[in-house]
Symmetry: C2
């Protein structure tokens, strides 16, 4: 323990970061910009090559931070896990998707642990950041690491869980200035973990165990899933009652306590909110516990693309048109504004349903040049011209990118379905969620 | 319209407030303290007599405001609605409970409207503040008032809805400094309503219709119901997983965006959160719409007293005792800390269940000297002594009044069930939710 603390104190430690995606690369950059030597590990040779060539591929990393990293030459990447043996700390930032049946897919964590275990040295600190069900660190990661390394947690190495809190597109909070929750298996692990993470992150908040830290992340995102689902359901009812839900939300926001605004839309997207709560639902079964709120929220979300398709159909019906044979343009496939990520985006699901009903589907997204729907349909973003807009039977606002010139789009469109309250002025052409 | 605006401008208008409860009396006091003449109406002769004798019975009214009202002599009360004829504005603040089958009980609004209608004069502004389902003002109040008065809304009188936002016990936000949402049937009604309410309230936020204003209040409290139910369900799971949910919440609060903390407890209480969302569920049926989130939240809440009773039973079981024959002391029956209101309090429901199972039930609450459970059992608050605590088989924290000396209570108790995270230090005696 004294050895690693000394290395931390004199900045000579080497941090290994496993997984160079939207969590791992910003974390690697934050350590590296602070002068800590970092080795990034990824199975993707493309990502490794980009990092080693000094090319950043994550929008959220600030250019000045990336320049600093290049200047200091503190970051290298590798697809070969043998270099784990040179790392004093190993931080796991691999994805935890759900499979097609909405069950946790632990393969990435499992293979990362097996690879790390092969090369793990005595005296190393290991932290998992991947969002997962509570007890994963203790009951899944720990035995894998011990088995693969032949070492014992608590004496030979230290294990912790520290959830990533990356919010893609957030202009204020990044990896460094977002407080980080950390729960370790032992007090020594907590002391070491705090010292290490403090190099890259301004504020570390310690909790009593990895399972508490795991639950923290699930609570944060379950809160979001449940509230987005609630407001989506209320938006659908409001539509029937001739009430503008967005006007309601703006007014509710004037309550100076006890309210936080969520906004309706075509459904939840991204790699956190549609996934994390279902990790908890999965483990809850083991405890004979039924999480009815998460289940209901999931139910609402699963139906949203269908309900939105009905809205499109209803709007077209006003123009005496069916979906079948209509040309329908989707504006934005990213799952939230001003980001380049279309994972789990509800837009793609709606495009599948509309295409399945015989609609001619097109999309435009300044951040996403090509995309593939869950149904396997491949599309390329089309250029947004007044001619294109005029030629479409229906234009659907699926993402409210700030680059969209909404007035101009409405002016040149025959019919607009606005799922994001993008259109601020009243118009007969516009049909809102 | 000019006449009423003149009276507003030179402060000569008279405001009638119907219902002198926790909403009406603070509003009356806010107008009266601003020098506006107010007549308060209530069917309770007791309340009328108290107001006329200068005795305040609502904790939230600040003593200095009440003194100002007495000094100005601007507030009188009456049980005779004939004085409505002298009012330029009539504001309805009557309760909207649910009946035993959780359906809206509109009797108080209905009888208030009939009485007001009898005496309503041309040129009067009428506003409803009672929380109710969207469309109530337009489809329920409007026809009642027009029929009873023989006058027409929009030409003879003006009708609006403005939801009360009273938060009993809130030390920062009171009637005057909490922004008020207002939706009127006509533009003239909105102009007049804003001018009138501005006498008593600092900030008026106008919306486009009464139904939007009605939905605002329902959204605010549905948000709370859903989130309290969510955290209660997560607390129950956490208990099974050996996770301290309160530690999880404190850690989640370090997320600087996109999270608002709610705390678990024995269930929801009071006259808003357990009721308001079910008004929306009621009207939604008319639109063939199923509000699954509200339904699920209501389901969780309905079960909480039973689940809490199981916790008490489990704690007693550790001491090899059953509920039947055990002496069980409940600390706090008010539905939230430091208030004197036990309406819809989950503590009363738990007391009923425990008494029904043969437990000897006692309670102590410094704010509530006597209470009656939904099952019709009457209790008086007992004095809190070390002898009493020692004699009880189990002590249950149902409300976290700040007056409770928690350490002293734990010290003298045999067994504590803590439903509010009142006990901060670990103890073998304490069993948490």
């Amino acid at each position: 323990m004294q050895k690693i603390l000394e290395k931390i104190n004199n900045n000579t430690l080497r941090v290994g970061i496993v997984g160079l995606g939207y969590v791992g690369l910003p974390l690697a950059a934050s350590f590296a910009a602070a002068g800590i030597r970092v080795t990034g590990f990824d199975v993707s040779e493309t990502k490794v090559a980009k990092v080693n060539a000094g090319n950043n591929y994550i929008l959220d990393i600030r250019p000045e931070q990336w320049s600093k990293v290049q200047e200091l030459k503190t970051l290298t990447a590798s697809a070969d896990f043998a270099a784990i043996a040179q790392c004093d700390a190993v931080i796991i930032c691999v994805p935890t998707p759900l499979d097609l049946f909405h069950k946790p897919d632990m393969r990435f964590i499992e293979s990362a642990c097996r690879e790390i275990g092969k090369y793990l040295q005595r005296g190393t600190f290991v932290s998992l950041e991947s969002t997962t069900y509570p007890t994963t660190t203790e009951h899944f990661v720990l035995p894998l690491l011990e088995e693969a390394s032949g070492l014992k947690q608590g004496t030979d190495f230290w294990l912790a869980f520290s959830p990533e809190r990356v919010d893609p597109g957030n202009k204020i909070y990044d990896t460094r200035n977002t407080p980080k929750v950390l729960g370790a298996m032992t007090q020594a692990g907590l002391t070491i973990g705090k010292a290490i993470y403090s190099k890259a992150i301004d504020h570390i908040y310690a909790v009593s165990s990895p399972r508490v830290a795991e639950m923290v992340k699930i609570l944060e995102n379950t809160y979001r899933l449940v509230n987005i689902s609630l407001i989506n359901e209320m938006a659908l009812l409001s539509g029937k009652m001739d009430i503008d839900i967005w006007e309601v939300i703006e007014a509710a926001k004037t309550k100076p306590y006890g309210f936080q605004a969520f906004y309706p839309g075509p459904g939840i997207g991204g790699h956190c909110i549609p996934l994390d709560p279902f990790y908890l639902e999965y483990i809850a079964k083991k405890f004979n516990f039924d999480l009815t709120m998460i289940h209901t929220a999931g139910h609402i979300d699963m139906l949203m693309p269908h309900r939105v398709t009905i809205k499109i159909s209803t709007a077209l019906n006003r123009h005496k048109k069916p979906i079948n044979g209509s040309k329908i343009l989707f504006l934005g496939v990213a799952y939230k504004p001003d980001i380049d990520d279309e994972r789990e985006s509800p837009a793609l699901k709606i495009m599948d349903i509309v295409a399945g009903k015989g609609g001619e589907v097109l999309y435009h997204d300044p951040f996403v040049p090509t995309c593939t729907t869950p149904g396997g349909r491949g599309y390329s973003s089309v250029a947004l011209t007044s001619e294109l807009l005029q030629s479409c039977d229906c234009v659907v606002f699926t993402t409210n990118h700030s680059a969209f010139d909404v007035d101009w789009i409405v002016e040149h469109s025959q019919l607009v379905v606005d799922l994001r309250n993008a259109v601020k002025v009243g118009s007969d052409k516009v049909y809102k969620l």
